[in-house]
């Protein structure tokens, strides 16, 4: 499935027809997306959708079996030094060496990045409340995430890559991480790409959103456009319906009896005629949250796969 996107010339990350399989399982199936420069790009998907696999391709930690991945116009597998030197990465699992101290982590990481900002690193360290002599293994999960974020940000990377940064963290730490993300973009115009299954976070900070479901890209584009295209319509039927009504173009239909809710994508002009033909009327139109859009899109994608396999 192709989605409208900025031209690849403006893209910091350009992924074209990416395919990846692990054994018999297809993890990424012809995924194409472009991350515009200076934007916050949110990647959503359920557990096992392929988000981390996609991010690993961007980092060059996985080689594309088919398709291409370009970061800053470079192949991250062929030129890992050129690409990784411009990326700050925070992984989902805190994989920082437990034996290192905070100050050692910063000193070690600093050596790899000529743009390392000592003053900024120190400011972040104080802000995050990390004692320089503390060993990383003695830090809590939230503190380790902050240490990882510090190491990822202090060299002011052109691309900040966050893989489920707030997974397993308390709301205060999640807020700190999101604020760091916002600051990165608003103050310095850099690019952020982060994945999450917490859609409220994505909705708060993202300019662009891509939705992965079982390795397929089901949605991709500016967040505002996506939300504008998806609408929920409350329907009232003259007679109670024993099963969900079949409405062409509907992503999901929920309800019971006479009252039904329909989420549509881009078919709002055609919907009144369709609804009338079914003996119903539209009583309310609502905006839809990203969470509902995701659930509706994922459900539709699953149904489509089941139908095609039959």
């Amino acid at each position: 499935m192709k989605f409208p996107s900025p031209s690849s010339a403006e893209a910091v990350v350009a992924i074209t027809d990416l395919f990846r399989r692990f054994g018999p399982k297809t993890v990424l199936n012809n995924v194409s997306l472009y991350v515009p420069r200076g934007s916050v790009f949110g990647l959503v998907g359920e557990n096992g959708a392929g988000k981390t696999t996609l991010i690993k391709h961007i980092l060059g930690l996985l080689r594309a079996e088919a398709g291409s991945v370009r970061v800053f116009g470079l192949d991250p597998v062929a030129d890992p030094v050129g690409v990784l030197g411009r990326i700050g990465y925070l992984s989902e699992q805190p994989d920082l060496p437990g034996w290192m101290r905070v100050e050692e982590l910063l000193r070690y990481t600093q050596a790899f990045y000529p743009n390392w900002d000592m003053a900024y690193a120190e400011k972040l360290r104080e802000q995050f409340g990390l004692a320089p002599g503390a060993r990383l293994k003695t830090l809590s999960k939230g503190q380790q995430a902050k240490a990882g974020l510090l190491a990822a940000q202090a060299h002011r990377p052109e691309l900040l890559l966050l893989d489920e940064p707030s997974s397993g963290l308390d709301p205060i730490v999640r807020r700190d991480i999101l604020e760091a993300v916002i600051r990165t973009v608003s103050e310095e115009g850099r690019t952020v790409f982060f994945s999450s299954h917490l859609l409220e976070e994505i909705e708060r900070v993202s300019d662009y959103v891509a939705m992965l479901h079982q390795g397929h890209l089901v949605l991709c584009g500016p967040l505002d456009d996506i939300k504008a295209q998806h609408r929920r319509f409350m329907l009232s039927f003259a007679t109670p319906q024993s099963k969900p009504p079949v409405i062409a173009g509907a992503l999901s239909v929920t309800g019971a009896g006479r009252e039904w809710a329909v989420i549509c994508n881009g078919t709002r002009n055609e919907l009144p005629a369709i609804v009338t033909a079914l003996g119903a009327r539209i009583i309310e139109e609502q905006a839809v949250s990203l969470n509902d859009i995701f659930v509706a899109q994922a459900g539709t994608a699953t149904t489509a796969e089941t139908t095609s396999s039959v």
Binding site: K56, L61, G85, W99, E103, Y108
Partner: protein, 551 residues
Amino acid sequence: MRSPTTALAWAIWRRGRRAGGWAIACLAFCALVNLAVPGRLRLTETGQVFDPVFGFLMTVSLLLVFGLFNYTEFNSTREWNGFPYRLFSLPLRTWQLVALPMLLGIATVEVVYVAWIKLVLTHNPVLKPEWFAVLLGAYMIFYHTALWSLAGFRIARIIVLSLGGVSSILVAWLPFSDSQGAYPWLSEKYLAAGMAVLAFISFLIAWTVVGRQRRGGGHRRNWIHCLLEQAGDLLPRRNRQFASPAAAQFWFEWRRAGLLLPACVGFALLAIFGPFSWAFRTDPRSTIDTLVKIVAMPIVLAFAIGKGFIKPEFWSTNLSLPQFLGVRPLSAEEFVVSKMKVAALSVTIAWLLVLGFIALWLPLWADKTQLQQFLREFRRFYPHSWLAITILYFAGFAVITWRCLVSGLWVGLSGNRSYYIASACLQVLVPTLLSLAAGLFSDTIDSEIQQHPDVVNSITLTLIGWLLALAVILKIWSVVFSWSKNSVRRTSQYLLLWSGATLGFVALAILSPPWPDIYRLEHLYVLVAFLLFPFARLGLAPLSFARNRHG
């Protein structure tokens, strides 16, 4: 699964099924061979080759069973490798959690042992089979106790398990040591009872330790770790910035494994060779013997430590490149070079310790009577070059020590577990099988040499010469292939290094041929000199690293 016992037994088997499969395969193979070979053939000299081979494979099979019951799990965040922590939430008592793997292990090892006796060792039965059965069962319990109670003491556990393995041979020999029956406590009956009591005590220790871990104890760093960390906190720490990414990576690798070889060498010198040399300071024969062992010790240790050193993360059983390292903007070449440099520094310190010990021991308390006689002969044979030969030999030993640490990098960094295990097995199996073959056929070889000395020598030496020449050609060919993907700068640098080291070995070969060199073997030594310093395999290491990094 209908019971916790079945579930846990299935989990143990599922995790170690490969080791179990190989153990059964060894048994099955030997049983088939034993069945196929006629009994009368087994009584001939040729037939006697089967017994040591069966014995060797039986040992391998039993070791694999012990490996199957390596009932631990590694937690990287806590750096904890002990009793599987996730099992503590099961509705089972601690003694059940502890006893089940032990009992399963005992049952399995006894079944395998009995199968070997009944199916394979039928023509040359084991003496005192019940004693060995008791020993195997008891050591299964000791093994589990060491694994669980020393969780967190990685090095101590390795040492204890190694000493345990060696002690098992000595203990097994005890009932056979008193053939006259002078010491009743050395009889099989009393020793078996003693082992049973020790095994029960060991089980109680394991139960206590695992129980403590289950209640939250043992996860905290114990007092030794705390003491070491507090001592580390007091030591001055580096606060200078790194000059380059390569320098930072060198520091990282050094911190992980750089001090291990010098620490083990230092420990061996202080704890083993020091007291041993003092105890035998009046025995002139032991001086040369001890000197040989001291010189061999770093090489043997490097061979063992090298198995961990070649991995991306020394202390992990996972061969995949840690993501923390994979995202560093550093080329594969530089990662490999940093490991090689750490190995070089590690070997240098280790050999400085060895030389320092020798410099103290020989003048201060060694009996040098025989050593001085040997040195006099040595200076007589090589009057002009004895000093150069001595220096070159020690330098050569250091290079071989370094080779033991790094020559397997192309396998360890690849992330491929099958390659890694196959490589380690080959390095152990090939010399073992060659030694076995040499031992078995030594009489035949000796008689052939006595009957046809000139023919045997000329054929053998010619064959060796051709094989060495082929090996040198293969090495050069492999070098061209393996270094073709590396940068010109690094290739030139390493070529310089290889040239210098090989020149040293060639000089040694030319300066120190055996005297008299009746068979004129100097050319063979020169060919060997070209093979000693690793070249081709190290060129593949960056490629292996890149393959591991990029999935």
